[in-house]
């Protein structure tokens, strides 16, 4: 794992900084496909701040005219029940939308900054991670 990271040239987050959750597939195990509508929905673990960003498999941002590469906890539109839904889709739509430019493979990274200690060491209970499902593939 470390070898792969070094070769890719990435500097992963340190634990004192934040935690990163990387999704390359949906809950059924199907690879994230930017030609589909990808729904990321549910609660998020406690943190001072979080970001959700979409990349191509080489770790580059996805080109789009809106320059919208992700959402963070300050700008996302929440539902009244403290859940949220972000949709990754090739075509513009309302709500929390991240353009995918129809790329066939995507990587979504959820980063929690200043998350409570213990969460990263797996000593706590199961994290409240949002569900990921895909539909209407073109």
């Amino acid at each position: 794992m470390r070898g792969r990271r070094s070769r890719a040239g990435e500097l992963p987050l340190g634990l004192g900084d934040g935690l990163a959750f990387i999704a390359t597939a949906d809950d059924s195990g199907t690879q994230l496909d930017g030609r589909c509508d990808i729904h990321i929905e549910g609660r998020l673990p406690l943190a001072r701040f979080w970001t959700l960003t979409v990349y191509d498999p080489r770790g580059r941002l996805i080109d789009n005219v809106a320059e919208r590469y992700g959402y963070n906890s300050a700008e996302v539109v929440w539902r009244p029940d403290a859940t949220m839904e972000i949709v990754l889709a090739p075509r513009a739509r309302g709500g929390n939308w991240i353009p995918t430019a129809g790329r066939d493979r995507l990587v979504a990274i959820l980063r929690l900054y200043d998350a409570p200690v213990g969460f990263g060491s797996r000593s706590g209970d199961n994290a409240d991670l949002p569900a990921i499902r895909q539909e209407f593939c073109q």
């Binding site: 070898g3 070094s6 890719a8 500097l11 340190g14 634990l15 900084d17 934040g18 001072r48 941002l61």
Partner: protein, 181 residues
């Protein structure tokens, strides 16, 4: 048949060894690791602003676009370093990586609890060489021990609203890392 068995096994064992050695050394010999990419931004022991990632170009892959970053690519072989990072009203963090991209320490503005995060970065040998009385005054000074003489200090500052970007960039430009003594 027997004449082929021994060379075949020898070949497989040799192949296996080569595979293992290559896999284990790859992180060290890869030319385009994070350290190499960041070292191209400028000389060591100076804070450099990292250009914002765009779909067309990025210094490192998978950077978080919600943040502005600056780095100090360091080399402690001649002197230890003083690292000063002005915090912003929002999330500010300082992370330390070895030459090979392993995160060994990180702290943020809340953990530091001051308007300026200030710390001394040194090797184990430099720390051991500190005079005794210095060690006492060091109680209110943060010392970070680097496992390698070379490494990277990554400073990340959150930009909550796009309009604040330039003001935060100016604040980030005040960060410094400079040799002590």
């Amino acid at each position: 048949m027997r004449t082929y068995t021994l060379p075949l096994i020898a070949g497989l064992v040799l192949g296996g060894l080569v595979h293992i050695v290559t896999t284990l050394t790859l992180p060290r010999v890869a030319s385009e690791d994070a350290y190499a990419r960041l070292a191209r931004l400028g000389p060591p022991n100076v804070v450099q602003l990292v250009p914002d990632s765009t779909p067309m170009q990025a210094v490192l892959p998978r950077m978080d676009p919600a943040f502005l970053s600056a780095v100090c690519v360091y080399d402690l072989s001649s002197a230890s370093l003083k690292v000063r990072v002005p915090t912003t009203p929002d999330y500010t963090s300082v992370s330390f990586y070895t030459r090979y991209g392993l995160a060994y320490y990180a702290l943020n503005d809340h953990a530091a609890g001051a308007r300026t995060i200030e710390l001394n970065l040194m090797t184990a040998a430099q720390r051991a060489a500190l005079p005794e009385d210095e060690e006492i005054t060091a109680a209110d000074r943060l010392i970070v021990e680097s496992p390698t003489a070379e490494g990277v200090v990554m400073i990340r500052v959150l930009v909550r609203e796009r309009g604040l970007r330039e003001a935060i960039r100016a604040r980030l430009a005040e960060a410094s890392c400079s040799p002590i003594g």
